[in-house]
Symmetry: C2
DNA sequence: CTGAAAGCGCTTACAG
DNA sequence: CTGAAAGCGCTTACAG
């Protein structure tokens, strides 16, 4: 055991200052009344002893730790790293500590993380739930009066705030742009993990103008946008154009992209559903002999740093990741402060970034290409 | 104030189980003796009430929080994100919590972060100190018996463990490879922020075979490797080839790279000293009309995901970032467990990754190129 | 404005 | 093996 110096306590300060611990506490903790005279005595005693408050003791009494917990998918990914940065900025600004955990998209991990955060008595948590159906552990947190803000993804019917982006719109706009350029075979590479349906079945569901995908996971919402753009342009859907990696891994995406691109009637454009899918897809493209954008157009959902300086620069649907984190943290702090307005949903807009990875399709052997802008 | 349910305490469990709180504590906390009979009673009572231990109370007594704190430069950067991931894995595996803060390379922030961590009573911390000279706040932490492990960078004369990579060797090997290809004007873009010397002065210092740069900041160690490679190859040094961004920003690097590349006797190869410098440099290259690797060879210190699938793929000096984080965390946990061996330095090896962004130089107007491998 | 006392939810000697 | 008591370092009523 490392022999931790016992540390100077409020009792030591009180003794040196010649006051009660109650008084010392009042000036050091900045609560209650205190005369200027005592205040100065206490402060100089604290200074002399190098006093540092023990926040654990304070929290034990007040029942509040000024700490928020985060359950991210993987803090190493640029997506979560940026979100965390936003959360961290708001936390710091408000003198809150931040405990961070990963779920690795694994519900057992998520449950374990939530338990840890609970035992550490966080005042609230920001969670990116990994299973839209498995939320009992989160329900019990909310029931215990500890506020949760969900980010990016959500559990059905959990009465908790949510911060995300308009996935359908962002995907729709990207795919519509490809269609407007004349592309008729547009591939999509996405996780598309949860969901009891096949791509065919989803196409059928999502083709109904009234279909609402708001509660689905992001990649499905993005596929919904893909479907809508096709419907609007009157371009038929082909399930064979959808690469479903099912797991959140670049390798899976790379494999799907290879399959799609090696097909004889391969897509002339690809829409990738998130950062990892983009990485896998670009790895597949790098191994192919296709040149962007002439042989293949690409648009990526989520804008990563490097997309701006590779050649060709990649078009992207940018998500305000930092702002999402900030909004989630701010919302959580509001809840912690007692705001009990009804459940809030903050859906942020995405931004289309045009850089040069999109061009009209070249005619492929055996395919007639007709350009119809919309 | 959100009305937090009071929560069920060990007293509630003890009452329901019909035992003393001491006994309940022993079985729930898994310390001391307890009969099978009492154990079962307590456990089922705890189950029935949905008891969750309050770790704050436990920590207040034991003096240990099973929490480690981290002060990173910027959790959003891939470098720190990977390191954090490694730290997080080890922490989780050992049931430790993780409090994360950013310094933003600002000493005031760093001091503030350290204070927060101290007040939260972390058992130890991992710090990437932002000022090699300003370490009083860290000295006092160590003096208080709280172990610190420094990562990537270190404060002079702080008696604390360190985990980093062999910067000089990694840079040396990269630059030697460029020299072997025949490059004679190799530019370097680096932070090179701290240090009281000019580039000329540093060249003079570092040219002495006995010069030791171990305690310098990474970018200077990397420049030292650059110098050594040149000395070995008998190639003269030119201070004009060193772009010193001074601050840790891609914009600064981009500006430096633009300056270097627009020079009439521009370098035929660039060595970038870290991820951010690479991003800035690549942005400058993308805006130029130079083609890699024919017009310009590039090697980057730190291997980022995208370098593997851009065209041309970029050669890099890979740092074992995740392993660095794991090693730092493991070392810290050892210290927390009482290991008081002398100060440890773990210097990990880098790995040269050859992908195709290096080629022999083409003769530039007015320059004779002679190829001399070493 | 100040102090003595109680108490937050646990763990730790100490008897038995 | 178990329980009564004390106590970790603070804050919070409650008198005065």
């Amino acid at each position: 055991m490392s022999k931790k110096k016992t540390g100077v306590t409020i009792t030591d300060v009180a003794r040196l200052a010649g006051v009660s611990t109650a008084t010392a506490g009042r000036v050091l903790g900045d609560y209650g009344y205190s005369s200027r005279e005592k205040r100065e005595k206490v402060l100089s005693a604290a200074q002399a002893l190098g006093y540092r408050p023990n926040l654990l003791a304070r929290s034990l009494i007040t029942g509040r730790t000024k700490t928020i917990g985060v359950v991210a998918g993987d803090i190493q990914s640029p997506f979560y790293a940026s979100i965390l940065r936003g959360i961290s900025d708001v936390a710091e600004r408000n003198d809150f500590g931040l405990i961070i955990t990963n779920s690795d998209e694994n519900i057992e991990h998520e449950i374990r993380s939530v338990r840890l955060l609970l035992e550490k008595q966080v005042d609230g948590m920001i969670v990116s739930p990994c299973d839209p159906e498995g939320g009992e552990h989160l329900v019990s947190v909310v029931a215990a009066g500890i506020p949760i803000v969900q980010i990016d993804r959500q559990v059905h019917s959990l009465g908790a705030d949510f911060v995300g982006v308009d996935n359908k719109q962002g995907a729709h706009d990207a795919v519509a742009r490809l269609l407007a350029q004349g592309h008729r075979r547009i591939g999509m590479i996405g996780e598309l993990g949860y969901g009891d349906w096949s791509i065919e079945e989803f196409f059928a569901l999502a083709s109904a103008p009234s279909y609402a995908s708001d509660s689905l996971y992001p990649s499905w919402q993005r596929l919904h946008g893909y479907v809508e753009a096709h419907r609007e342009a009157g371009v038929p859907l082909d399930p064979m154009l959808i690469g479903r990696s099912r797991s959140y891994s670049a390798q899976g995406a790379q494999h799907q992209a290879q399959m799609l691109l090696s097909n004889k009637s391969r897509p002339t454009a690809l829409f990738t559903a998130d950062g990892l899918m983009t990485e896998g897809t670009m790895a597949a493209v790098a191994e192919s002999d296709l040149a962007l954008p002439d042989d293949l157009s690409v648009i990526c959902f989520d804008d990563l740093d490097w997309m701006g300086f590779v050649r060709p620069r990649l078009d992207a649907v940018a998500q305000p990741r930092g702002a999402m984190g900030e909004a989630a943290a701010q919302l959580l702090l509001d809840r912690i402060a007692g705001n009990d307005e009804p459940e809030k949903r903050i859906v942020m807009r995405t931004r289309q970034i045009v850089r040069g990875s999109v061009a009209p399709p070249r005619a492929l052997p055996g395919q007639a290409v007709s350009v119809t802008g919309q």
